[in-house]
Subunit: 385 residues, 2 copies
């Protein structure tokens, strides 16, 4: 196990009828900006519930943070918050709204051009507005971590940033708020949480026994509930387990003290930025091909994954590894998510474009061993055609 | 899954050579009281390392916080801290020193008789001194939670208290600091962490899938490393995994949103208070008997435990349950910890004394179903003779 720090001060309030607790969680004199994605929170009553809980506080609304939140949109909110001198942010939505809110929280007091926050990966943040979240879409884990990914539309650039100053103060997780989500978003959420876990687990052995067991527990949970959450959209316990698994998959715990990969995400980000494919779907395309291409350098953990997660105990080592990767692909397909570039009408020209973007963004040594060169990324994408 | 709150702001600094980071973690102008147990931190050089890291800060020392820290001893430290107007506490030791430090942190600013903190289970704490810890003994999880257990020697009363104000600000976990621990303390630590996990896991099904998988992961880790940490006292990775598993076993995570038992602890506390038996050893005595006596009300989870933790797949349900309980007992015995009251020279008279104390402390409805009456506690202890 390598040395690590673990720090996560976000307060989780989990369960039914918890939105009313906003009255205790948000300062009584706060001047609040509520950040929203589309119209769903208004239509399904969540926004009304939020506003009722906020009571007499001054509440403004900013609507329209898009999936893969854009710098251009977020800067509009930054200007409004600065103009109105608002002092507390409340994200009501999924990972995109929360990621966007993190950027806004850091950008409002930022001196200079806020895009620099992203080119410095958040290292230059000196302060941030306090904020909380009401999560409506389980997937990204953004509700309990200090990272975010923002896209600049003008340049089709998607960049992550992290800073402890953008931990949410609190996050309200009410699983019943996910009942009305479209099947596509739930499927994406399951796959997103699954691949987040894989990126921190399926690397090389580092003797992080608790981390491995936790990761395997999350993967097994997602496999067990995945098809059921689609089949039974009103089942509270299924949604609750999905929501908590997705939060746990990216709150820093399973990745503490062990190597991390993230190459699937970095390649996937370019596919989203260039071709507007859902984030989770890009992961489902890249991951199986990447595991296949890199099976030698991931050999020990792939065998552990085959054994403990998929209970594959027969056949040669190579056969068990191949079977585990196939089962992973089958799981994504069973969630209704296609796993080949051609399923998204992309061919070799798309690969050239992705490689060019990876090169432009300095993504030339990806993965837990920094051995995923542009050449390897090309091989992965070619295998995913 | 039931509604829950999860909040844990303690910063963990984990790994070798991390004590030097005290210089960044403790405020530069702090007037520090270092709290210690016996002489081991001085003898093995940890105290010197701590003092070197604290540099020019004013540092006082209080030595002699005993196992099962006593109110009487801790109040001596409270008086010294009040007299010297010290403003930061640093616990250097195991769970007893950390528990004691939590009480001191709350007692120093407490108005009135600090014993009232315990009779109110911590609910009456209004403020507490800030403190950090340097953990030298993996076992109790106190380094990353807001609970403590304190004993009043005068009345042989052992009571717990909890309050979010007594979360450590930080805890330094350097596994190499455990190399010099006596075998007995390591064995106790393994069993303590194991039973902490069981108290939050082996109850009745509540569909907390992530919590169950995490708990099973901790139990499997402890079973896997238990005998090895005794056999290879200088193995860093084994000690690191024990340390992290013990912290995870009681930091609030695996118990969030699921029922909890704790009857083994409550009965065990009386055994320690009356007969001065090591905390972990009382748990090893009470738990197997309790599981056997209560196997009907714990049936579903006992079967899950037999399946997922011990991989017992043959025989009838009753046989698998009995085998899982026997394997639990065997594990404790393999750690060199005896599991019968008679092993500690206690007979029926001791049971009468424990029952009288449980009655005096209002412990008449213990367990996840509040169905462990004094009569059941007596049956459990009788089965443990």
């Amino acid at each position: 196990m390598t040395n690590f720090e673990f720090f996560n001060p976000t307060k989780i309030v989990f369960g039914t009828n918890t939105i009313a607790q906003l009255d205790q969680l948000v300062p009584a004199n706060a001047r609040v900006m509520v950040l929203l994605g589309g119209e769903s929170a208004r239509k399904n009553g969540t926004l009304a519930e939020v506003k009722a809980a906020l009571g007499a506080r001054e509440v403004h609304e900013f609507n329209g943070i898009e999936p893969n939140p854009s710098y251009e949109t977020l800067m509009q909110a930054v200007e409004m918050i600065r103009a109105e001198k608002l002092d507390f942010l409340l994200a009501v939505g999924g990972g995109s709204v929360i990621d966007g809110t993190k950027f806004i929280a850091a950008a409002v007091p930022f001196v200079g051009e806020p895009w620099d926050i992203l080119t410095h990966f958040g290292g230059n943040i000196q302060s941030a507005l306090p904020f909380g979240t009401v999560l409506t879409l389980p997937a990204t884990g953004s509700e309990m971590n200090h990272g975010a990914v923002i896209t600049q539309k003008a340049t089709q650039t998607k960049l992550p940033f992290m800073n402890p100053l953008v931990f949410p103060q609190f996050s309200i997780l009410d699983p019943s708020k996910t009942f009305t989500l479209p099947e596509r978003q739930i499927a994406n959420g399951v796959v997103d949480a699954f691949v987040h876990t894989i990126e921190q687990y399926l690397t090389y052995p580092a003797n992080g026994m608790v981390q491995d067991r936790y990761a395997e527990g999350l993967l097994q949970t997602l496999i067990e509930i995945g098809p059921k959450v689609l089949a039974k959209p009103q089942d509270y316990d299924l949604r609750a387990n999905l929501m908590w698994a997705a939060t746990q998959a990216l709150n820093g715990l399973i990745g503490a003290g062990v190597p991390q990969d993230w190459s699937t995400h970095m390649i996937g980000h370019e596919l989203t930025a260039l071709f507007d494919i859902d984030h989770a779907r890009t992961l489902a395309v890249v991951l199986p091909a990447s595991l296949m291409l890199r099976s030698e350098s991931k050999r020990e953990k792939l065998l552990q994954y085959a054994d403990r997660v998929w209970h594959l105990h027969h056949g040669s080592e190579d056969e068990r590894i191949a079977a585990a990767i196939e089962k992973t692909r089958d799981f994504f397909e069973a969630m209704g998510i296609k796993t080949k570039l051609s399923d998204y009408d992309l061919g070799p020209a798309a690969i050239d474009a992705v490689i060019a973007q990876l090169a432009a963004h300095g993504m030339t040594q990806l993965g837990e061993r920094q051995d995923v060169t542009l050449e390897i990324s090309r091989d992965i994408l070619t295998a995913a055609l």
